[in-house]
Each structure stands twice: as structure tokens, then as C-alpha cells.
């Protein structure tokens, strides 16, 4: 094992990037992602199955749910925070910067939740604005931290998904 920064083996990380440069099959594999969400059979509870993992999606009691886990819109902002965090650690490690602490606080504001509840046709029920603030503790200057953050934001898969128009292909199938 080579030099370890932020708990990541720098050499392995570089090899991974090299692999992505030349191995088309590998790139195709990491270019596509899958999830399957199943209704738990009662109320607002759902389970998502992703590779060998699963997690619960639910609604808080004020929205009629059993509050068994975060709801879908909370997962969206959590995914953004996780993506920024992953990118930040990746980009800092690539530069040889040790990070002592990293936290991303996210706040998302829905444009008009009444549309979701069928009570309004004005605006839309998606996020209008998401604020993501990163707190970083590291022995490096602020300019470098900002540079890493800018690169992280620019190259974030989830950030780009949210900031750009994504083609969503909804389909339905009735099973009898």
C-alpha cells in the first residue's frame, strides 16, 4: 500500500483514474447506475435496493407517514451533500491535502408544495433553490480550499443532475 491521505491510498486512486482513461468497459460500468424502489405494502414506506444495499424511504408523521426514514426529497439533498463530500475528498486527496473534518449542510426550498398535494397549479413541486454549505477543517490556505470546492461543484454528478435538464423516461406496467 502506498501513501494514504484522507484514508485513501493515493496510488490506488491514481490507478483507478488511469484505468478509466484506457478501459472502456470499466467506464461503461461506472457510467450507469441502478436502483429499485419497492412499496413496503402499507402507507408511505418504501425500500430501495441498490447493489447489495437497501434503505428505507418514508414520510414524517405530519405528512401522514410512519417516519421510518428520510423522505424522497430529503434523499435528494442528502445525495447532493454526499456527492459534494465525495468529490471534495477525491479532489483534496489528488492534491495531497489532508482533511481533518468535512461537513456539508444542505437546505432545499420547494417551489410550491401545494402542487404535489393537488391544491395549486402555480409553479412546480420541485426544489426551487438548494443551498449547500461546506465546512472544512484542513491545514491549507483558504484559496486552495475554494479551488477544490469549485472543482468539486463543477464535476459533481448529482450537482449536475440537479442543475441541468435531465431526460426522465417514465414508464408504467400493470401486472395482473
Amino acid at each position: 500500500m502506498g501513501k494514504v491521505i484522507n484514508g485513501l491510498d493515493v496510488e490506488s486512486l491514481k490507478s483507478l483514474i488511469e484505468e478509466a482513461k484506457k478501459n472502456q468497459e470499466f467506464v461503461q460500468k461506472i457510467n450507469k447506475w441502478y436502483a429499485r424502489v419497492r412499496w413496503a405494502g402499507s402507507g408511505f414506506t418504501f425500500n430501495s435496493y441498490v447493489r447489495n444495499h437497501s434503505f428505507t424511504i418514508s414520510e414524517p408523521s405530519e405528512l401522514g407517514g410512519p417516519d421510518k426514514g428520510p423522505n424522497a426529497v430529503e434523499y435528494v439533498i442528502s445525495a447532493l451533500g454526499a456527492c459534494y463530500s465525495t468529490g471534495f475528498i477525491l479532489n483534496a486527496t489528488k492534491r495531497g491535502i489532508s482533511i481533518k473534518n468535512l461537513e456539508v449542510a444542505i437546505e432545499g426550498e420547494i417551489d410550491n408544495i401545494l402542487v404535489f398535494l393537488g391544491l395549486s397549479n402555480e409553479g412546480h413541486p420541485g426544489y426551487r433553490k438548494i443551498i449547500a454549505k461546506a465546512y472544512v477543517e484542513a491545514d491549507c490556505d483558504e484559496k486552495l480550499v475554494k479551488e477544490i470546492w469549485e472543482e468539486t461543484v463543477r464535476t459533481s454528478p448529482v450537482g449536475n443532475t440537479l442543475a441541468r435538464n435531465v431526460e426522465i423516461v417514465p414508464q408504467i406496467s400493470l401486472i395482473k
Binding site: E103, E107, K133, Y135
Partner: protein, 386 residues
């Protein structure tokens, strides 16, 4: 004979930047405790000078050696460690309250440190004796030392999942803190301290906390919700157990609604009324209470609860930039005279000026002017009521 309307402070004074740098370096292990104490000595001398020049009768050391009014005990008591919110949030029952707290303060979970009991506790060194001795050596004034109260220490440091391995119930831990504090109070008394004040701000959190959670002093208190009446009874019993029978020193209890930031909206709000039945049973000489801030409500709450105890009347708000006029202070004190005799009224700010080292609520200049204004009001009152 002691003069009436003595002027005193609640405790903390804004720390100079060089002291904050030294505090940080000490925390990072870059300087020894001995080196830090030498730097802090200089800061204490400045705090003494400001208070003496302002005409304060019972002075403190400005709590210059402490990072805040209670966390510092982690250095003095074995089994108590400073932990960040990030390190213990997984054990909290009400994680959402922490999230709200962090969001309001605009800080990450790794930046807020609070003392947590992570083993059986045992006193390592006296808690405030070195502070008291240095202060006593450098002033001819009477001196006051604030200590975190037993309830505050217990509520802020007992976390289910961490501390219960050593103290099954928080009540068991409270007994131990109580013994340590009792011993410390006697030690301070025997070393010439005139006034020992126990800080118990979490009492207001118990009453008024659910709506606002922007204080850092109750970080761990957020980890479990309790019934307010049971909590107040528990707080009262443990405080009384700590002070019962101790004589030869003035004992006070200080209660406030948070002193984290200058923002009035960011602190708790609510009067003393629901607290008074418990407060009046406390075996202390004096209640050191906020009254300058409107958030504390009216002093008329004492109408239904007459008492022979002393009151440390909060007459200036440490958070505001405007310096209160002596005549306004006098007007308020005269209102308090409806419920307290002149010899039982002490005059002080609502709280400290620098409760948390890194976020003082005022500058030394404004703090000094506020104390001076209290002294002026006190002189006029003494003339009138001697």
C-alpha cells in the same frame, strides 16, 4: 459595614485576541498549560483593572482562563472529555434538535465541543482555586468565583450510550459532581473567596427550550427530553445537596436564557414565574438573575413569591451596544425595592460579557461603560437609601 447596592459582575469578560490565540495553541498542544497560564495572568490583570476602574465592588477574574463557563472542567475532572457534537450525535435521541441548533448557529458539528462523561469521574485538580488565588493576590476588592452548577454539569455531560456505562442514571452522576463541587466551594471559601456563584442556565432551557434551541450550553441536554417539573425538582435537590450547611461564603445561583450571540432573537424567552417555587427552595443566599433584557419578563413575578433572599439584579444587558443610563437603572432598582430590601439588592449585568471565549457579546470598551453606569446608579441609590 458593607455598603448597600454593591456592584458586581456575573463572571466573564471579553478576552483579548492574543489570549484567544493562546487558548487555541493550548488546545492544539502547541503550548503547555504553564505557558498558557502565564499568558492568561496578563489577561486577568486587564480584566481586574477594567472592573476596578469601573467601580465594581465584588470582582471576578473575567473567566479569562476558561474557554467557556463549563467546558473547562474537562481539564480538571478525570472521566470528563471534551467531545464534539459530531462525536456524540449518533447517541442523541433528538438528532433533529441538534441539526436545528447547528443550522441556526451556522457551524459544523465538529466545531462545537462539550464536556462528556466517558468514565468514572474523579477530581484531578481544584476547579477554580488557581483562578481565585491569582485574583485575590492582585486586588483589594472582594472576589467572586463562578462555578458550573451540579445540574448544568450533569445535564450537559451525561449521554445515554456513553456515560451510562459508568453512571446508569444521570442522578448517580449528579451525586458525584455534587461532592466535587461541594469540596471546591469549601476550598474557595477557605482561600478567601467572598462569593461563589453556581451557574445553572439549563434551568431556563428546561422551561423554555422546546421552542428555541440555539444555545450551546445545553448541547448534551438535548440528547434526552425530560418532564420539566421532574427536572426542576432534580435540579433543586442536587443543588441543595451541594451547598447545604456551607457557611462563611456568600452563595448565589445564576440563571439566564443564553448568552451565545448578540442576537436577542437567538436566546430563550420567558419569565421566572414557573421557576420561582423551585428557586425559593434553593439553599443559597442570592439569586443572580437577568432582568435588563425584556426576554426575562417582569420583576413583579416576586409579588406572589415574597422572599428574604438577596437578589443579584441584572440591570444592564451585556449584549446591546447602547449603554444603559444610570437614571434608567435607578428606576428599575426602585421597582425591585417593592420586593427586596435595599441591603438585599446587588447590582450586576444580566450575564457575562464573554461567556464563550470565541464569541464575546460585547467589546471591553462598551462592557466597561456599562459597569460604570451601574456604579454611578449605585452611588446615587446609596445616597438616597442609606
Amino acid at each position: 459595614m458593607d455598603k448597600i447596592f454593591p456592584v458586581t459582575v456575573v463572571g466573564s469578560w471579553p478576552r483579548p485576541k492574543w489570549l484567544l490565540d493562546a487558548l487555541r495553541r493550548k488546545r492544539e498542544g502547541k503550548i503547555s498549560d504553564e505557558e498558557f497560564q502565564a499568558i492568561a495572568d496578563e489577561a486577568v490583570l486587564i480584566a481586574i483593572k477594567y472592573q476596578e476602574d469601573a467601580g465594581v465592588d465584588i470582582i471576578s477574574d473575567g473567566e479569562q482562563r476558561r474557554d467557556n463557563f463549563y467546558s473547562f472542567v474537562a481539564d480538571k475532572i478525570e472521566g470528563v472529555e471534551l467531545k464534539t457534537v459530531a462525536e456524540f450525535i449518533d447517541f442523541a435521541e433528538d438528532k433533529a434538535a441538534f441539526e436545528e441548533l447547528l443550522r441556526k448557529l451556522d457551524v459544523p458539528a465538529f466545531s462545537i465541543r462539550t464536556p462528556i462523561v466517558t468514565n468514572f469521574i474523579k477530581k484531578k485538580t481544584p476547579i477554580a482555586l488557581n483562578e481565585a488565588k491569582f485574583l485575590k493576590e492582585h486586588t483589594n476588592k472582594k472576589i467572586k468565583v463562578a462555578l458550573p452548577g451540579p445540574y448544568l454539569l450533569t445535564r450537559s455531560s451525561w449521554i445515554k450510550g456513553i456515560s451510562d456505562k459508568y453512571y446508569k442514571r444521570k442522578e448517580d452522576l449528579a451525586e458525584e459532581f455534587s461532592k466535587i463541587l461541594r469540596e471546591e466551594i469549601k476550598l474557595l471559601r477557605d482561600n478567601g473567596v467572598d462569593f461563589v456563584q453556581l451557574d445553572e442556565p439549563v434551568l431556563m432551557e428546561v422551561l423554555y427550550g422546546p421552542e428555541l434551541s440555539v444555545q450551546t450550553f445545553m448541547c448534551a441536554a438535548l440528547t434526552a427530553k425530560e418532564n420539566p417539573r421532574d427536572e426542576l425538582r432534580f435540579a433543586l435537590d442536587i443543588l441543595n445537596k451541594t451547598v447545604e450547611g456551607i457557611s462563611g461564603v456568600r452563595l448565589g445561583v445564576h440563571i439566564c436564557r443564553g448568552n451565545w450571540s448578540k442576537s436577542e432573537d437567538a436566546q430563550l424567552k420567558g419569565d421566572y414565574y414557573p421557576l420561582l417555587p423551585f428557586l425559593l427552595d434553593m439553599k443559597v443566599n442570592q439569586y443572580v438573575l437577568e432582568f435588563a433584557t425584556k426576554r426575562a419578563g417582569s420583576i413583579d413575578v416576586f409579588k406572589d413569591y415574597p422572599t428574604e433572599k438577596e437578589i443579584g439584579l441584572g440591570v444592564v444587558n451585556p449584549k446591546t451596544d447602547e449603554v444603559e443610563k444610570p437614571e434608567d437603572i435607578i428606576n428599575f432598582v426602585e421597582k425591585a425595592l417593592n420586593y427586596f430590601k435595599p441591603e438585599r439588592i446587588f447590582l450586576n449585568p444580566d450575564c457575562g460579557f464573554g461567556t464563550f471565549a470565541e464569541s464575546p457579546v460585547n467589546t471591553p470598551k462598551v462592557s466597561f461603560l456599562k459597569l460604570k453606569s451601574i456604579s454611578k446608579a449605585a452611588s446615587i441609590l446609596r445616597e438616597k437609601y442609606h
